[in-house]
Point group: C2
Chain length 337, copies 2
DNA sequence: TTGTAAGCGTTATCAG
DNA sequence: CTGATAACGCTTACAA
C-alpha cells in the first residue's frame, strides 16, 4: 500500500530548499521567480514527480479550466466530427473537456448542467437538447458561460451558433428545378428540431415560388433507418417524386439505399437527392451525395474564441448570436442543370 | 458584475440555522442527519442555489470522481460507438468523464496522462496510442488506475482488454474457403497496431493450413480512402484475388466501393469481402458486409466494473487481462458455402 | 525576488 | 445526531 499518494508543493519546497510559494510561482505563468530558484524547484519537482493539483488551483482561482461538453448521439458522424474539433481546439486553448452524454437519461441536459456546476466548469457547450430556462439562468448566475450549437434558443446570455438553414433549403429547391425536377419531396425526421424545420420551411417556400408543390413526410429519428422508411413511404406513392431533399445526410443515405436496392431507381437519373451535414459517408462513392457542409471547424473556433474572451462582456445582456453559412458541396446525386 | 459567484456550504448553514458540517453531511450519502435537519438544509440549499463543490470535495477525499478518456480518431464510427458506451456507463457508475483527444499532437498520450494526473483523475482509459512505460508507472504510483483497450501492452498494473483477433482471422479464412474462394488477400493499414497485425497473422496462418497463399498489402490509415487505394493496388494485379479480408470495416467500405465502381466487380459473386468492427455502415444495404462485431458494450462494462472494484487488489501486481471474443456477423458480402 | 500567513470550500475527527 | 476544529493543496496579498 502506497499510503502517500501525491506529491505536494510543500514537499517540493523542502527538497528545493525554498518556500512553498516559490514552488507555486514557478508553476504560475508570468510570476516573478529568479532563474536560479526556478531551476531548483523544477529539478526537485521532476525528481519527486510533482504535478500541480488543478483541483486545488481551481478552488483558489475560482476558475477550473474545465469546459463541459453536453452531447447526445455521439456515435453519429456529424456529432463525432464536431466533438473532435471542439476537443482539439479546447485543448489548444489550455482548457480541458468534461464530457456529458445525454443519450440514455431523462431530464438529462438539466442533470448534466448540474454536474457541470458541481465541478465548477467555466463553461458548457450544448450540442444536445435544450436546457430548462431556469437552469440556464442558474449557470449564468454562477458565472458559467454557455454555448448553444444549432439549438436556437431565444434567451439572452448564452452564445448561440446557428446556420442559414432556411436559405439552404431554398438553394436546394432551385438546384432541383434547374435539374428539371418538378415533383419535389422533403424527408424529415419527426424530431421537429428548429434547425431541421427551418430547412423544411425554406425548401417548401422556395418551391412554392417556383410554382411547385412539395410532399413532406416526417418519420423517426434523423438516422439511416428512418431514411429507408421514408423512402418506402414516398416511393410507393402513385405520384412518385423525382427529387428529394433529406434533412440530414444519414436520412439521405437510408433513402438512397432503399431507392436503389428496393425500388431499383437510378440516382440521379430517375431521382435526385440532396442531404445536409456533409458527413464523411456523403463523399463515399456509393453515395456521392450533394449536400451542405456543416462548418465544423468554424463552429468550434467561434465557440472556443468566445469562451476565451474576457468574462466582462459576458455578463452584459448583449445578444450573442452567430449565424454561419453552410456551403453547398456539389456531387453526383443531382443531375447537372 | 456579480462579484460573489458560487454559494458555499457556509451560507447554506447560516440560512438553515445549522452548522456547516450538517450541510456537508446532508450531501454525503450514508451520513447521519436527522430528517428535520436534512429538510431545513435542503430547503436553504434550494433557495440559495447551492451545489456541492466537487473540486473541494475531491481535494479532501483524495478522490475526484473523474475518469480520463484518452482517445484518438473520435470521428470514426467504431471509436465514437465505444466512447458513447463508455461515457454512459461511467455516468451510471457516478463517475464523470474527462475527454482528451490525442489526434493532433505529438507525445500526445503522455501529455494527456499528465493532464489526467493534474486533475487527479481516479483512472484513465486509453483507446489511443500506447503511453510511455515511465509515465504509466507514474500514473500507477500516483494511485491512478489504467485501462488499455485493444492496446496489448505487456506491463503489469493496467487492465488490458483485448479481442481474439488471431482466431477471428482464422474463421474468415475458413469462411472464404467454404465459399469456394482460392485466391485470398488481406488488406491492412500500415499502422502496424498489434490487434491489426494479429488479424493478419491469424488469417495468413489459417489460409496456409488450407493450402492457400495470401496476398498481403498494407497502406495508409485504417480509413475509407486507404481501402480504396488498397483495392486499386490489388485488383489491377494479373492474378486478382477472389476474396479479401480487410482489417477494419472502414477499409472494407473503401475496398468495396472501389471494387464495384472502379472495377465493376459484383460482390459477393466475383469477390467476397469481410471486415472487422461491425460499424453501423456495415449493415447498410450498400455494403451489407460480413464482419466481426466489437463487443462494445461488454468492453465498457468490464472497464467500468474494474474501476469500481476496490483499489486494494489494484496495487497488487496481478495480471489484469480480459480477452473477449468478436462475434462473426453474417451478411451478404460472402457467398454461402 | 522571496517568505509568511490567510483563505478557498470541502470532509474527517472527535467531543458533546 | 450535532457542532467545533483541523486538515487538503494551492494561490495571493502583504511585508521583508
Amino acid at each position: 500500500m502506497s499510503s502517500k499518494l501525491f506529491v505536494s508543493a510543500q514537499e517540493v519546497a523542502e527538497k528545493a530548499g525554498v518556500s512553498r510559494s516559490a514552488v507555486s510561482r514557478t508553476f504560475t505563468p508570468g510570476a516573478s521567480v529568479s532563474a536560479e530558484t526556478r531551476r531548483r524547484v523544477l529539478e526537485a519537482a521532476e525528481a519527486l514527480g510533482y504535478h500541480v493539483n488543478h483541483l486545488a488551483r481551481g478552488l483558489m482561482r475560482n476558475e477550473s479550466g474545465i469546459v463541459c461538453l453536453i452531447v447526445s448521439d455521439v456515435a453519429t458522424p456529424y456529432r463525432s466530427a464536431l466533438l473532435r474539433e471542439l476537443t482539439i481546439q479546447l485543448q489548444n486553448a489550455g482548457k480541458v473537456a468534461m464530457f456529458i452524454n445525454t443519450d440514455r437519461s431523462d431530464g438529462s441536459v438539466d442533470r448534466a448542467l448540474q454536474q457541470a456546476i458541481r465541478y465548477r466548469a467555466d463553461a458548457s457547450i450544448i450540442l444536445s437538447g435544450l436546457p430548462d430556462k431556469s437552469i440556464t439562468q442558474l449557470c449564468l448566475r454562477n458565472g458559467q458561460r454557455l454555448v448553444l450549437i444549432n439549438r436556437d434558443d431565444d434567451q439572452p446570455g448564452p452564445l448561440k451558433i446557428n446556420l442559414d438553414d432556411f436559405e439552404s433549403g431554398g438553394r436546394v429547391a432551385t438546384a432541383f428545378f434547374r435539374a428539371g425536377c418538378r415533383s419535389l419531396a422533403f424527408a424529415n425526421s419527426e424530431a421537429g428540431t428548429p434547425s431541421l424545420m427551418r430547412r423544411e420551411h425554406g425548401f417548401v417556400a422556395a418551391a412554392a415560388k417556383l410554382g411547385l408543390d412539395v410532399t413532406v413526410e416526417r418519420h423517426g429519428s434523423t438516422g439511416y433507418e428512418a431514411g429507408k422508411v421514408l423512402a418506402q413511404r414516398m416511393l410507393t406513392r402513385a405520384e412518385r417524386p423525382d427529387a428529394v431533399f433529406c434533412a440530414t445526410d444519414l436520412l439521405a443515405c437510408g433513402f438512397m439505399d432503399a431507392a436503389r436496392h428496393q425500388f431499383g431507381l437510378s440516382i440521379p437519373h430517375q431521382l435526385c437527392v440532396a442531404g445536409f451535414d456533409d458527413i464523411e459517408q456523403a463523399s463515399w462513392s456509393s453515395f456521392d451525395l450533394t449536400t451542405f457542409a456543416q462548418p465544423v471547424m468554424t463552429i468550434a473556433t467561434r465557440a472556443v474564441e468566445w469562451l476565451g474572451s474576457g468574462r466582462d462582456d459576458a455578463t452584459s445582456e448583449v445578444e450573442h448570436s452567430v449565424r454561419l453559412t453552410a456551403e453547398l458541396i456539389w456531387r453526383g446525386s443531382i443531375r447537372a442543370g
